[in-house]
Symmetry: C2
Subunit: 316 residues, 2 copies
Amino acid sequence: MAFSNLLEVVSNVDKFPYQRDISSTETIHNYTPLCHESRVIGNILPDVMAQLRIYNSAQSLPPFVIENNVTFAPWVDSVEKRTEVIKTMMDLWRKEKTFTALAGWRNELYPVYGNSAREDNLAFVIERAASALFGISTFGVHLNAYVTEKDGSIKMWVARRALTKPTWPGLLDNCVAGGIAYTYSTKETIVKECDEEASIPREISEKASSVGCVTYYTYTSAGLQPETQYVFDLELPSGVLPKPQDGEVDCFYLWSLDKVKKSILDNEWKPNCALVAIDFMMRHGIITADNEPDYIDISYRLHRNLGFPTPTKCIK
Amino acid sequence: MAFSNLLEVVSNVDKFPYQRDISSTETIHNYTPLCHESRVIGNILPDVMAQLRIYNSAQSLPPFVIENNVTFAPWVDSVEKRTEVIKTMMDLWRKEKTFTALAGWRNELYPVYGNSAREDNLAFVIERAASALFGISTFGVHLNAYVTEKDGSIKMWVARRALTKPTWPGLLDNCVAGGIAYTYSTKETIVKECDEEASIPREISEKASSVGCVTYYTYTSAGLQPETQYVFDLELPSGVLPKPQDGEVDCFYLWSLDKVKKSILDNEWKPNCALVAIDFMMRHGIITADNEPDYIDISYRLHRNLGFPTPTKCIK
C-alpha cells in the first residue's frame, strides 16, 4: 500500500511507542525492561518473557532475577559470564526452535552496552539473530552511493534485494549496508560491505564520508529493533558501477532522486532503508523546509533518542 | 572556560531539563506551560508569571485564564485577537521596562504554532524580543560557507561578531544567520541574510543547499529559547570572500576544520552557533563515530524533539 506522505513512511518504521501505555492490552506496551547497572538496556515482549521464566526456573543456578525488570543474577558478574548465560539460553531455544527469529542465526556477535559513565561500557555480546528477542539496541552502517551529473543534479544507486533473501526479498535498499560486528569500526565495516555487496574496490570505498547517524525504534515479527545506522555517502565516478557479488543483491539501478522519492512513497523499499534515503535527500537539498510540511517532525524521527546506553569508546 | 569535549559544548546549549523535577526549587524547573488547543506552545518562568498575573487581573476583560497552565480566555478566539492581546501586554511591559529582554525590540514578528492536526496551524504572531519570555519555539536559518581546497580538504568561513552587538559581542559565529520572520521561506531568508551580513550576491547565495535542521532547547538571562535552526551549506568559489556589510560582523576568517574544532572547545563561539558548526563537521566526515566517543549522544542533542507544535504548512 502506498504512503500519502514521507512522515507516514518514517512512522511506519519508527513505530515503537514514545509513551508507554500501562493500561493498554496491546503486546507492544506490555514489555519488561532488561536492566543492567541500573540502566535499561533492552525490552522483552511477553512471548519471550514466558520462555525466559521457564528457562530461568529450570536452572539450578538461575542466571536472571525477574521482578518488575529482568536483571542478571549477582553471580553473573562479568562480560564473559553475561555473554555465556545468554548464549547458553539461546543455544537451547535455537535447538528447540522456540523462536523463528533464531532460525536466522548468523554467527555474528553484537555488542551490548551498559552504564555510559564507565570508560569501557561493554556489558556483553550477543548473537545478532537473538538481539531482537531482548530489544537490544544494535548498530549498523548504510551507504548512499551517488553520481553527480554534469548539470549538478544527483542520481542515487539503489539496490534491489535478491528474491532469495530471507528478509524483505525483492525490495529496494541502499547501495550497501550491514551490521557492525563486535570490534569493527564503522569505516572498516563500510569498506568490507562495499566489497562484499557491491564489488566496490577498497581504493574507492575508502573515500566514503561519514555523514551522521539515523536512529529509530522499530519492531517486526522477529522482535524489537532499536537501531542506530551510521550513514556514509560515497560519490562514485561515472565509470564505476556497483555489481552484485555475494548474492544479497539482485541488481543496482541509477535513479533520479524524484524517482527514489516516488518509489519510497510507493512502498517499494525495505522500510528502514527508506529512512536512510530520506535523510540523504534532506542533506542534499531535495527535501527542504520549503517543500516538505513535516520537515521538522521527520528530522526528529530520524534522530530518535533511543534512551539506551551508547558506546563510550570509539569502536576501533 | 574551555570545554573538555564536544558533548559538553552541546550540553551547554541544549540545557533545558529533559525531565521536569517538580520537587526542585531551581527556577528552571518551576515553569508554567502556556497552552493553546490542548497543546503546550511555550513555558513561562516565575518572574514572567508574576507580571502576567498582575497584568491579567488589572484588565476589565482578562485575556488569560490562569490555572495550572496559562491559556487564552475564550473571547480571545482568533489569530488576530491572540496577537493583539500579547502585543498590548508587551507594549506596556516595554514602556515600563519590566523586562530587559524587551529592550532588544526589533519589530520582527515570529509565528507561533498550535494544533499540528490543522492544515494551517498559526496560533498568533509575536515580537521576536518577546518570544523568550513565553518560551516560544522560534525558527532561524544558519549558513555554513566553506571552500574546498585542491587537496579535497575543507576550510570554513567563520564570522567574528561585532563588539557593538548587544548579544555575544566579539564571539565567533556561522558565516550568516538570522531569524525567519513571518511569511518568509527559509531560502528567501538565507539569501537576504547572505546579502545583509556577508555581501554575498544573490546569484551565489541562491546555490546554498538545505542540509537539515538543528534543534535544541536553551535558556539565557533573556528567557527560554527552544530553537529550530534550518541549516544551509554554501560552497564559495575561492575568489568570493564574505565581507561585513551591516555592522553585525567584525571580520571573517577562513579556517581549517581543526582550527574550527579547537576554537569551539576553547569556548570562543556564540554557543548555539557552535552546534551548527559541529553538525557541519558531522555531515562532512570530520567528526565520526570512529573518532568521537559521544557521537550518538551528540546526534540526539542536535536534533532534540522539542515537543511543541511544528508548522504544518510550508512557509512560502
